[in-house]
Amino acid sequence: MALLEVENLSVGYGTRRGYLRAVEQVSFSVEEGRSLGFVGESGCGKTTIGMALLGLLPSNGRVVGGRIIFEGEDLLKKGEEEMRKIRWNKISMIFQAAMNALNPVQRVQDQIVEAILTHNPDMQKEKALERVAHLFHLVGIPEQRMKDYPHQYSGGMKQRAIIAMALSCNPRLVIADEPTTALDVIVQHQILEETKHLQRELNLSIIFISHDISIAADVCDEMGIMYAGQLVECGSTQEVFSSPRHPYTRALLASYPTLTGGRRDLAPIPGETCNLISPPSGCRFCDRCPGAMGTCMSETLTWMEITPTHRVLCFHCGKG
């Protein structure tokens, strides 16, 4: 059985302008020790999924449908107390721009110790410190830097500290939301390499959320492409990259400049994202899709299987 199985998850936000359908009928699963990447542009709902999994939606957001089954239990049916036991202990999250989340007036080791003790009140402080030392070694921060304050750390080290904090209570699943966006190219590469290394060593499952498809592809075993709240394509990284089926996936891949291969062939996607307050009932990519038929906008979408591990949310892409 998969570690995490999400079925037909739908999330919406109440705004002054109306009800915003941020995530629409998204289904996916994450096996133990495997990583899944969610890729999409801003506003596609990937961060919302991450927050919904942990029950951390803001006050105007609510889950309006679906099930989130973690270790056999539906998380949506759990109350706040039970969710608190799961957060950090079983599922932890690295938020966007997390390095700014470090308290500037507290030593880094103290912050991690606090995280550990909050979720394991019975643990002794010495044991917690030992654990912190072990974690620092794991993520590659020299032990003598444990007592420093956050401002003494470089950007890459802060991010490593955040990763250490996320791993502090031995979670089985880590949700990483754009963990490397604010970092330089070289540091980013190092962090990604270490993430892969950690995943193998600790047999972690990771949900990696990013707007950059090449970063996600480097780290993840499986990929899910999101557009306007819908999961439009899902499969192993190899399959999605080498034979993308959905027109949006193809267009997305074609809009990234590459280091090798032909120059001068970037094809931007025409048009704008649809309005999430009153989206079309069918495919939301319709008005920008080169292969759109009149019916796409109104027909309910179903998954088309290309291989047992590769599926596409489009009538016309499944064939051939």
């Binding site: 705004t15 002054r16 302008r17 915003l20 506003g43 307050i277």
Partner: protein
């Protein structure tokens, strides 16, 4: 949306490309902004109460012209009822009673409302004008000018307004109401200028200011075209707070006997009650002006709090993401 705006639907605008309709589209934006602001304001309970109270006082101020027209004996300053030589309670002829000279109290109260608005709004307006201009210049120009202006602001801020006016009037005799307004304005601008300066400093860092410089804009143009429009909403907000302090200062001055003797204000009414020893004897005379002062300041304060919510940038963020 109210029916009368339905005709300005933006899709219709797009289809008709006439110049006339494009102009309407420009105006439409302001209407849209005001409507949006109004709908936020309306939901705020304090704002609603404040609006109602202010409307009441506004009506009082407008009605202050009526009593003298009915009968000269109702004039707040000079109208003397020949039948009543001293202070009396409410009766049919005088709904609130009369003061020690036989003048009608209700007309005095109405005139006081007029004076409160005049003083409050003009003093506030002048101090905001000064404070905004000085704050923008100090924030934008920086360096020595900034230091000088802010030290000047500090010096003025620590001086107690009331005390200075008392000293001035003891030196120069009774002050005219407009002089008082001017002095209040001159002593009240530092608070505003600090806030406007802070706002200007943060605006100065924003790329659109750099973009204007790169386009070749002069400093003056940047201040008036780019900084001022972004700073004015804050100025208007502060104006509501300034009105309350202006009204209270004027009332206090009048009460202490340093107001303009030719103007009937609520503070002046309180002074007359006190001076003639009727403070605890004639409650019908004491209570109305006191309650009015409290209520009008309270209503301006509520107005300010509700406007705060309208202007809060957090609301603007929601617009962008939606």
């Amino acid at each position: 949306m109210p029916t009368w705006t339905r005709g300005f639907d933006i899709n219709i605008m797009r289809k008709k490309r006439d110049r006339r309709h494009i102009r309407l589209q420009e105006r439409f934006h302001w209407i849209a902004l005001l409507q949006e602001g109004w709908s936020i304001y309306r939901r705020n309970l304090l704002g609603r109460i404040g609006m109602v109270l202010l409307a009441l006082f506004g009506i009082m101020a407008l009605c202050s012209f009526i009593p003298p027209m009915i009968d000269p004996m109702y004039h707040p300053m000079t109208g003397v009822d020949p039948d009543i030589p001293s202070t009396t309670g409410p009766c049919v002829k005088h709904w609130l009673g009369t003061d020690y000279m036989g003048r009608d109290l209700l007309s005095q109260l109405l005139a006081g409302a007029r004076v409160a608005f005049m003083v409050g709004v003009s003093a506030a307006f002048m101090s905001i004008f000064l404070g905004t201009a000085i704050g923008m210049i100090a924030g934008y120009m920086g360096k020595i000018l900034d230091t000088l202006l802010m030290r000047l602001a500090d010096v003025i801020m620590v001086m107690p307004t009331l005390l200075v006016v008392l000293i001035l009037s003891s030196l120069f005799g009774q002050l005219n109401i407009w002089t008082i307004v001017l002095i209040i304005a001159l002593f009240r601008w530092p608070g505003v200028s600090r806030v406007i300066r802070a706002q200007t400093l943060s605006l100065k860092q924003r790329p659109f200011i750099d973009a204007a410089r790169v386009a070749g804009a002069s400093h003056l143009r940047i201040i008036f075209r780019h900084i001022m429009p972004n700073v004015l909403p804050l100025s208007f907000l502060y104006m509501t707070f300034r009105v309350t302090s202006a009204i209270i200062i004027e009332a206090a001055l009048a009460f202490l006997g340093f107001g303009d003797p030719g103007t009937v204000s609520w503070g002046m009414m309180l002074q007359w009650v006190w001076k003639t020893g009727n403070m605890f004897k004639a409650l019908y005379w004491l209570l109305p002006p006191g309650i009015c002062i409290s209520l009008i300041t309270l209503s301006f304060y509520m107005l300010g709090r509700a406007m705060d919510e309208v202007l809060d940038p957090r609301l603007r963020e929601e617009e962008q993401a939606g």
